[in-house]
């Protein structure tokens, strides 16, 4: 197990995701116990990235279901291809076939549009199923999802029950905008993705931007970490840190203290609300830059 985890950490790092041993353990357990993994955390900490990186490491296709308010079970599973069905009905109008026959023909698999959940279940090889932002969907959808994740079979009234050929690895993410049901939480393994510590963020910067000057990278990691401790409306996530690093490199800034005005202007990569932009003034930038030099 220990060996597996180490290998997993290395492979994740190789595809660009810096994980800690807790996450590696969660992923290992996912495969061993065949339970879904629930990732919670603030927006922008890299929850979706976990699923993408896992798919890359396992060389498995990533099937993504993006949840939204009003998502109903049907749209996540399948949709009938109405246009083709109507067309088929019209074409067969003159044929000497009974209505019952026509109905049977029109509800065959060729007229079925597969949506993510059905795709994941019918896949021939193991897939990674990412159910993104499950807290945006409502309780009914959650209940249905729970059913699917327990039995891994889907029943379509017109066709019958389709059982899974392979069990997908399921990753759910939640931003915490709504309380998820106890039943779902219990079914899943849990991992809380927090903002990275300075050294981890530095490793992330180096992994995603190899060749960046170490002095600057260290300053960036320190600056963002200090910025998160300020009283902000919206704390910058990891994606924002990487954007900012790219911006600084593009602006040819080697040291944060060299060009405070330019650095201040570049903060639009990190601060996404007017309140925060106004709160972090030039003086604040200079203070923080001085701290991390």
């Amino acid at each position: 197990m220990e060996a597996n985890r180490q290998i997993l950490l290395k492979r994740l790092s190789a595809v660009g995701y810096v994980a800690d041993s807790q996450l590696a353990m969660a992923v290992a357990l996912m495969q061993q116990l065949r339970r879904p993994l629930l990732l919670e955390g603030e927006a922008g900490v890299g929850k979706t990235e976990v699923a993408k990186s896992l798919a890359a490491v396992l060389d498995a296709p990533l099937i993504r279901l993006q949840c939204y308010e009003g998502l109903d079970a049907q749209s996540a599973v399948y949709e009938w291809n109405y246009q083709r069905q109507l067309l088929a009905i019209k074409i067969w109008e003159s044929e000497a076939v009974s209505a019952v026959e026509k109905e049977k023909h029109v509800f065959e698999e060729e007229f079925l549009l597969e949506r993510p959940l059905l795709k994941a279940i019918k896949a021939e090889t193991e897939t990674v199923l990412l159910i993104d932002e499950v807290d945006r969907a409502d309780e009914e959808f959650e209940a249905y999802l729970l059913e699917v994740l327990s039995d891994f079979q889907i029943s379509i009234p017109e066709i019958g029950t389709i059982a899974a050929r392979t069990i997908p690895l399921v990753v759910l993410t939640s931003n915490g905008t709504r309380e998820l049901s106890d039943a779902l939480r219990r079914r899943c393994l849990y991992h809380y993705v927090d903002y990275p510590a300075i050294d981890k963020e530095l490793r992330i910067i180096n992994t995603r931007m190899p060749g960046i000057e170490q002095h600057l990278a260290g300053q960036i990691a320190g600056f963002v970490s200090a910025l998160r401790r300020e009283d902000l409306v919206k704390k910058p996530g990891v994606a924002e840190t990487l954007d900012w690093a790219a911006a600084l490199v593009g602006l040819d800034i080697r040291d944060l203290r060299d060009a405070p005005e330019a650095v201040h202007e570049s903060l639009m990569c990190l601060l996404k609300t007017r309140e925060d932009s106004e709160a972090v003034s030039l003086e604040v930038v200079e203070r923080l830059a001085g701290k991390v030099a």
């Binding site: 197990m1 220990e2 109405y82």
Partner: protein
């Protein structure tokens, strides 16, 4: 790979690893972790196939398996150490700075525990006949109820009357909850076509959609966030409000409750306690040691910082119950309330003092808050609470 260790629960009276694992799962469950039979079995499986002597692996593995929320996540390590290494547990209440010594709890107005037990029994039975019978010896029946409805809550001290009022508050809360969560369905005629059903029906007619099917519209119920002022000046009313809030929050999944005085505390867990007497006890424990003046602005700031993101959306109704006496800056209060009003659907401020003769909202805090509220209403007796019902039902 190390060889698998036989994991029988009892072996010549020795306590084996398996029984300790099961004990750990049970220990966590007692602490509120949602752990069922499957989780226990998976925990055993985990330990059996892995190298259980690697303590770190066991810790991490069980953490992923047995936690279900970030609150669990944060408590886990301490609990793991407490169980496996028998390290003492330092605190029960998760409140920074407060001590958690259980003192003799008090409920506003009632005194001895004996009294409270009777009251609890009466309330738990919840039978109107019982209550009416309890009211014998005084004017029983409808007229007592009516008087109680309009009596200012701070004037009610008789335990029997209080029991009656509690029960009425319960019912009011339940009605309010019902009105707010009922969903409307417009089935026969709606604004949106249900294409799937329509096509199903059209097959019968050779593909011509003669019979249209409409989609049912559902009105999503609003979310409720309650912020209750627990300061001394409000103490005469707090007990009743807690009762009322319990009734609304109970099984109303989208409701959150907080109390504040010098700081803000997230209440919902304490209120999920079924026994209302125990709920009030837990609250007393949490609020003990709160000295000093009310800091509404700061409490709202804490709310905005730690909870607003999670609980406020365009469907949320925020209800603040407070007399507005604030020792902080009125501008700070106004600024924080403005932020809340921007994100929530409605901000309702309930002030018991409005029911008092001659009250005018001139105190700095209250006056500053007024422009950022959508409804400013009294809440000093059951009548005023009942008057809220149509307002909430309309939202």
């Amino acid at each position: 790979m190390t060889e698998a260790v036989p994991l029988r629960i009892e072996q010549h009276g020795e306590v084996t690893i398996a029984s300790r694992i099961v004990g750990f799962a049970r220990f966590l469950r007692d602490k509120g972790f949602p752990i069922g039979v499957h989780e226990g079995l998976d925990a055993l499986r985990l330990v059996r196939t892995g190298d259980w002597r690697d303590a770190d692996a066991v810790r991490l593995g069980l953490k992923a398996l047995l936690c279900a929320s970030d609150a669990d996540w944060r408590r886990y390590d301490e609990l793991f150490d407490a169980y496996w290494r028998r390290r003492g547990m330092r605190r029960m209440a998760r409140i920074a700075g407060a001590t958690s010594r259980r003192d003799k709890p008090t409920l506003a107005g009632s005194g001895e525990p004996g009294n409270r037990q009777q009251e609890a029994d009466r309330l738990n039975r919840g039978d109107e006949d019982d209550l009416a019978a309890g009211g014998e010896g005084r004017q029983a029946g409808a007229s007592t109820m009516e008087t109680l409805y309009s009596t200012d809550l701070r004037h009610i001290h008789d335990p029997e009357e209080m029991a009656l009022v509690y029960d009425l508050a319960d019912r009011l809360a339940r009605r309010l909850r019902y009105r707010m969560t009922r969903r409307h369905r417009i089935a026969a005629r709606g604004r949106h076509l249900d294409l799937r059903k329509t096509i199903h029906r059209s097959i019968r007619h050779g593909g011509t959609p003669l019979q249209l099917a409409f989609r049912k519209r559902r009105v999503r119920p609003p979310r409720l966030v309650l912020l209750l002022d627990a300061s001394g000046s409000m103490s005469q009313y707090s007990a009743f409000f807690i009762r009322f809030i319990s009734g609304v929050v109970d099984r109303f999944r989208d409701a959150e409750a907080f109390i504040f005085h010098t700081r803000l505390i997230h209440l919902s867990d304490a209120l999920k306690e079924r026994d209302p007497v125990k709920a009030a006890e837990r609250l007393d424990v949490m609020t003990m040691g709160w000295a000093g003046g009310t800091k509404i602005g700061e409490s709202l700031a804490t709310f905005n910082r730690q909870h607003a993101e999670r609980v406020l959306n365009s469907r949320t109704i925020v209800v603040i119950v407070s007399d507005g006496y604030d020792t902080g800056e009125p501008e700070a209060l106004a600024a924080q309330l403005a932020r809340i009003q921007k994100r929530a659907r409605r901000v309702v401020w309930l002030n018991p003092m409005i029911g008092w003769d001659g009250y005018e909202p001139v105190a700095g805090g209250m006056a500053a808050a007024l422009p950022y509220t959508d409804l400013f209403a009294p809440a000093h007796n059951l009548e005023s609470l009942a008057a809220l019902e149509p307002y909430f039902a309309k939202l």
